[in-house]
């Protein structure tokens, strides 16, 4: 009897796997040089300080080595010279879907974005390659003083807020890919929520890669002023190409005193995408930042959302689900930097490895010696579907000082043949049984997703698990 009789599971990415031909008006060409940076700055009409910011970042990017001394050597397969760094049909997003160019509108309609907007969103930004094709906020939300625009519009129209926080949470040279993003960034959201304003419905951004051999480098900055609350959700897809595609975003969150930010991601990139994202939030006194992060697609994802708890009683949380299918590597985790007394952080990570898929958890928890009353809880659970599936855990926890507490639990489990047989004996086909077990494994985390996303997530898991079974 084979020890691994479960059938291989094929990936069904039919949802996002389509593309339309687009005539781009602006194209930075293939490869990366000073000229590319200048081209992007010219097209976007960048102010001088941004142009200098880009040039400085580009220098840092060139100087910094690939982090392959700890990260996957697959990074060496990114050929920066073969990538296109900027493609757009103009830099101004439309406020109405009717004005959005037909092929972009069709794309987002197929992905269900306008429908979701009507149903439950307070605002939507839909980015197509380098620029947002559509960006709009519901009038009632805008009237409360909430700003929700693209990063370019943010830096042009709201420089007093933008410049104060831009690049402050994640410095340009934080890592090689944050430097790259800083050099060529385009798109992403700029959000400002005024003091005391609680945005009832989520704001959503959808990132779509349409072009082959393309790099998407959106830059998002969210500032929640004192006592305000906002939930931001992002989704992403791309068609499947033979060549590799690069997605390298930088997301900075600032929660001022008593503010709450929830940032939800459902990443379903096609399996040719390198997804290398830097996400970090700065939580001031009694503020709360929660990352809810779900990684299903991509070839290699490296993403460790972090919270720097800068003010007393600040809270940070990372809830993450990763599903690594055949040929995929989900290298994800969390960083919790305690920098004030009585700060608390919570990390719950669940990963599923299917076939030759590999899930890696990297967690950093840092509590320095001089702090008091800090708490961290870390739970990471891995589920292996096949005998050759792989998972690794690299926790780095430094908790010093008196009266600080840390709790760390980790588990690795497998769906057993006996469990599948039991479910099949009740009439449930093998693929559906696997899917049920996997959904069960992540069920407690999925409950924390907004309803519309938890339904989507369940559907994605069903697709992944049922693929070729049956």
């Amino acid at each position: 009897m084979s020890t691994d009789t479960k059938p291989d599971i094929a990936i069904d990415r039919s949802v996002g796997d389509f593309r339309y031909d687009v005539d781009y008006e602006y194209d930075a060409g293939v490869g990366l040089s000073e000229k590319t940076i200048d081209y992007i700055a010219d097209v976007k009409g960048d102010p001088d300080w941004i142009r200098r910011f880009r040039q400085d970042a580009f220098r840092k990017f060139k100087e910094m080595p690939m982090p392959t001394h700890w990260a996957s050597p697959d990074l060496n397969n990114i050929v920066f010279e073969n990538i296109r760094y900027y493609l757009s049909k103009g830099t101004q997003p439309k406020r109405s879907w009717d004005e959005v160019p037909e092929e972009m509108k069709l794309t987002f309609e197929r992905l269900g974005i306008p429908e979701q907007e009507r149903k439950f969103l307070a605002g939507v930004e839909a980015q197509f390659d380098s620029e947002a094709a559509y960006s709009n906020i519901k009038a009632a939300v805008g009237e409360q003083g909430v700003i929700f625009v693209g990063s370019t519009e943010g830096l042009h129209k709201h420089p007093e807020i933008f410049r104060k926080w831009f690049g402050k949470v994640i410095p340009t040279g934080d890592n090689k890919f944050s430097a790259l993003n800083s050099a060529v960034f385009s798109g992403g959201s700029f959000i400002y929520v005024p003091p005391g304003v609680k945005v009832k419905h989520p704001l959503q951004a959808y990132f779509r890669i349409n072009a082959e051999s393309f790099g998407q480098f959106e830059r998002t900055l969210i500032i929640a002023d004192e006592g305000s609350e906002v939930m931001y959700m992002e989704g992403c897809t791309a068609p499947k190409f033979e060549t590799s595609t690069l997605h390298s975003a930088v997301v900075e969150l600032v929660a001022l005193k008593g503010a709450k930010i929830q940032y939800v991601t459902v990443q379903n990139w096609s399996p040719n995408v390198f997804n290398l994202v830097t996400k970090r939030g700065l939580a001031h006194e009694e503020a709360e930042i929660k990352w809810i992060d779900c990684n299903i697609g991509s070839r290699l994802t490296m993403k460790y959302p972090g919270v720097v708890m800068k003010g007393r009683k600040a809270r940070g949380e990372v809830i993450s689900i990763a599903l690594a299918s055949d040929g995929q590597h989900q290298d994800t985790g969390a960083k919790m930097i305690h920098a004030a007394d009585e700060t608390t952080s919570n990390i719950v990570s669940k990963s599923i490895s299917v076939g030759s898929g590999r899930a890696t958890y990297r967690g950093l928890v840092h509590v320095p010696k001089h702090l008091k009353g800090c708490k961290n809880n870390t739970e990471c659970d891995a589920l292996l579907i096949n005998a050759h599936s792989r998972t690794d855990t690299y926790p780095a926890i430094t908790v010093r000082g008196q009266g600080n507490a840390c709790q760390h639990e980790a588990s690795v489990s497998q769906i057993s043949e006996e469990q599948i047989f039991y479910m099949q004996q009740r009439g449930i086909p093998e693929g559906a049984a696997m899917s049920l077990a996997v959904n069960g494994f992540v069920n407690d985390l999925v409950q924390q997703f907004p309803m519309e996303y938890s339904v989507e997530l369940k559907r994605l898991i069903d697709l992944e698990m049922e693929g070729s079974v049956g």
């Binding site: 009897m1 009789t5 057993s416 043949e417 006996e418 469990q419 047989f421 039991y422 479910m423 099949q424 004996q425 009740r426 009439g427 449930i428 086909p429 093998e430 559906a432 049984a433 049920l436 077990a437 959904n439 069960g440 494994f441 992540v442 069920n443 407690d444």
Partner: protein, 251 residues
């Protein structure tokens, strides 16, 4: 109409466990299989249900004339065979309500959705009858259940799935007398002309509550003796040695 096992031989690895087993359970009857540990009782249950660890080398299992051996385990189930497990599996994160719903949904034609209101009404009625607290619907299948709760949950599943033949593998093991009564009442409530039962047990005790029409004795992978319910009492009083001797003499 019957569950018919014909000259069944099955191995696990290189070891033959079932050695030409014959048994016929007509629909509407309750048959019991008794036998010592290691005689192959549980193997028989799993082989019938299509467990992937066993290899059938010859013979057949026919459910109303259709061979189960050609089918995947889920097809066997949907064809009408239910197996109440000796050790029910835990499925963390999957609630009983969702699990049973998925099982019933799998029996509907493509595109047809289960009627949620009718489903819950039926589920609650059956839970009440089995004295299972309604809060159990939101608990994960068998996760953290006591032995008795697991067995009651098996009977609940049987009642919901309405099989034409049910195999109960050591359903009495790990049950106290109160739980045994509840489980037995649950089984007896399903007895009728449309269902056949094969009750596998180690002890006669269960058969006081689920009274069988026929009792079979299994020794070393074969049925060696069959009789009425008094056979169970005789086994209880005298043990299995005499059966084994008779079987050896006959061979």
């Amino acid at each position: 109409m019957s569950l018919s096992i014909q000259n069944l031989r099955a191995n696990i690895g290189d070891r033959e466990i079932l050695k030409g087993l014959n048994l016929e359970v007509p629909k509407g009857e309750v048959h019991a299989i008794m036998g010592k540990n290691g005689s192959g009782k549980s193997t028989l249950a799993k082989v019938m249900a299509g467990h992937p660890s066993y290899e059938v080398t010859s013979g057949d299992v026919l459910l109303d004339g259709r061979s189960l051996l050609e089918m995947e385990p889920d097809e066997c189930s949907r064809s009408g065979l239910f197996l109440a497990f000796q050790y029910p599996m835990e499925i963390p994160g999957v609630t009983i309500a969702n699990f049973l719903r998925a099982a019933l949904q799998a029996r509907l034609p493509e595109g047809e959705e289960i009627d949620a209101v009718a489903y819950y009404k039926d589920l609650y009625a059956k839970m009440d009858a089995l004295k299972i607290d309604r809060s159990f619907t939101s608990r994960s299948v068998n996760d953290g259940f006591s032995g008795g709760e697991k067995k009651r949950c098996e009977i609940l599943q049987m009642a919901m799935l309405k099989p034409s033949y049910a195999v109960l593998d050591e359903t009495d093991s790990g049950l106290d007398i109160d739980a045994l009564k509840i489980v037995s009442e649950g089984v007896n409530a399903l007895r009728g002309p449309d269902t056949g039962f094969l009750v596998i047990t180690h002890y006669q005790r269960l058969l006081n509550y689920i009274v069988p029409d026929v009792v079979h004795v299994m020794v070393d992978g074969r049925i060696v003796l069959s009789g009425d319910k008094s056979l169970a009492l005789k086994l209880e009083a005298e043990g299995y040695d005499w059966v084994e001797k008779e079987a050896a003499a006959a061979a």
